[in-house]
């Protein structure tokens, strides 16, 4: 099966000006650094990592909301990295995004109908009965009453606003939807509703998701495959089952060990616990040499400081970038 999306060596560096005494020093912030990734049609690829690891930047690069510094992205067999504005707009129909903050992502001065219909207008539809019907259908699909169309964002709760954001993303019937932390701003009792809604819509409309989140349990629930990012690099990517049952990269192991237990009888107290990592994520302005995780890794060896490990195939559906695997 041909991949729906394929990224090769995808890189995004931001120029940051640090002030020196006499001159300005330019350094590159390596937000995303040489990522290879494929997304198969119909799957959900989960993308996890700590804040600042570049997962949102990667999501935006993949659908070209921001231009890449290097590397390329093939979508549906077409390279989109260097497309001009017109052909890019045609491709955009098929790739949409749902944002994290349901309060910031909707224009407070646009009614719900205007918000949901806007993508259609941008892509050449007229504001006619057919377009309005599409809005009605979409509202129904995301579980909002038709009367919502004349109301404004401030009248809705966080969960309802996220439904509006989903309706806006899906009205063009895209193939790929990037969900950038769609539930992390919501209360837990509402989170489950939105996760279920996304699963239902995926089946109904044949969608492919890139699901970005920092909550490992939510990602496990919704994904078919999961990629783990650390400081701009994908350090492990595997089938969901394989990744959670047998995490290979020490970072993935540490992430999983950090998730709070779901029953008090399984409390891990004291120093005897599983390998917890210490310290903070280093700055992407000056990432550590060699393996970027070596500064926090409980298994770091001399080679980790000097040589950067490549993604290695552990088995058919499991790849990890760690020197321990070479043994």
């Amino acid at each position: 099966m041909a991949a729906l999306l394929e990224a090769t060596g995808l890189t995004k560096h931001y120029d940051v000006q640090a002030r020196g005494f006499f001159c300005r020093v330019r350094t590159a912030l390596r937000a995303v650094d040489g990522v290879h990734l494929t997304i198969e049609p119909g799957e959900t690829l989960g993308l996890v990592g700590e804040s600042g690891c570049g997962k949102s930047t990667l999501g935006r690069l993949l659908i070209r909301l921001i231009p890449a510094t290097a590397g390329r992205v093939m979508f549906n067999g077409q390279e989109i990295t260097n497309l001009g504005p017109k052909p890019l707009r045609a491709v955009r129909r098929a790739m949409q995004i749902v944002f994290q903050d349901p309060f910031g992502a909707l224009n407070p001065r646009m009614s719900i109908e205007d918000t949901i219909i806007e993508p259609l207008l941008i892509h050449g539809s007229r504001r006619d009965a057919a377009a309005r019907d599409a809005v009605t259908q979409m509202l129904d699909k995301v579980g909002l009453p038709d009367s919502a169309r004349f109301r404004f964002p401030h009248e809705f709760s966080g969960g309802q606003r996220q439904r509006i954001g989903i309706a806006r993303a899906l009205i063009l019937r895209p193939k790929l939807v990037v969900c950038d932390e769609p539930v992390s701003a919501l209360d837990v009792s509402v989170q489950a509703q939105i996760v279920n809604l996304l699963s239902d819509l995926q089946v109904e409309l044949g969608l492919t998701y890139l699901f970005i989140a920092h909550d490992l349990a939510v990602v496990k629930h919704i994904s078919t495959r999961v990629a783990v990012m650390y400081l701009g690099k994908v350090v492990e990517i595997a089938d969901k089952r394989s990744l959670y049952a047998r995490p290979l990269h020490p970072y993935t192991q540490a992430l999983l060990a950090s998730v709070p237990v779901m029953h008090p009888s399984r409390r891990r107290r004291g120093p005897s616990g599983e390998p917890r990592i210490t310290g903070d994520i280093p700055t992407a302005l000056a990432p550590p040499s060699g393996c970027r995780f070596h500064t926090r890794c409980p298994h770091a060896m001399p080679v980790c400081r000097t040589e950067e490990p490549a993604l290695r195939v552990a088995d058919a559906a499991h790849q990890a970038a760690c020197h321990l695997l070479a043994k």
Binding site: M262, P264, D280
Partner: protein
Amino acid sequence: MSPALLDVVGLVRDYALPRPHPFAAAPRLRVLHGIDLSVPKGGSLGIVGESGSGKSVTALAIMGLLPRPPARIRGGRIEFEGQDLLKLSDRAMQRLRGPGIAMVFQEPMTSLNPVFSIGEQIMETIRAHESVSEKGSFARAVEMLEKVGIASATNRMTDYPHQLSGGQRQRVMLAIALVCRPRLLIADEPTTALDVTIQAQILQLLMDLRDEFGMAMMLITHNMGVIAETADRVLVMYAGRVVEQAPVGRLFDQPLHPYTRGLLSCVPTLDQDQDRLIAIPGNLPEPLRGPGGCRFAPRCGYAVPACEAAIPALVTFDTNHAAACIRVNDFG
């Protein structure tokens, strides 16, 4: 059980809302409808609830930090070591904060003053509550920073909050709260803004310091996992009321209130595979409007007409397990 350090009985709180027109009486919004809770010496109480459930307001009320007006106490007692905090003068309350009760806030980004170094902020706390020399307070601050796990503490004393990461800022917040050795620490969502790896570190640190100082803790969160890791007893709040109260093991094994059951089953877990999450339908109620009966009834799968009639009282079922639901006996 050891004698209670903190006892809150029937706490009721109102907020005055803006008047609709100059001659109207200010409408009042009730945010706490009679909260009872108690924290034993050295114990740890977890309060869990979603936004708007009144958990933070409860904490601020205990600390005496709600601005009055618009907030107003309409009844109840807050007893700390036998003393009713609601009857204390502002000065007496100020003396109690620090060595008596201290609080850690959710937002480590906004709770620290950006124009003072972290050392000054810790030393300010010491000097506000004790008469110590500059030198003495400096040494105490450094010692505290080391305790909360900040490396090369002496050098970091002159750092400003923006030079620290989120996890380090939360450690500094902890240092400020703990430097006067409080007997009760209130932590309001101390790890919500942090990544899981940092959250695990901070929770571990909190529990270690609790054991070391022998202090009691009240930990407020919306995350059942954090409760499972830290609490002895749990209080579940919904729309300004306590809906269930139990020892932590019991609450996870045998939740009685449908809302608690919903909270426990609506989050996916790492150990189980589910096809579908069991969502709680509907949205959180708005504080002003709402049905007359049980506030959870509109979202509850077990609701019967009787639920709409009156607000169920918190009824004790076993020695220390209470729930506010008229159908509890039907669930067994």
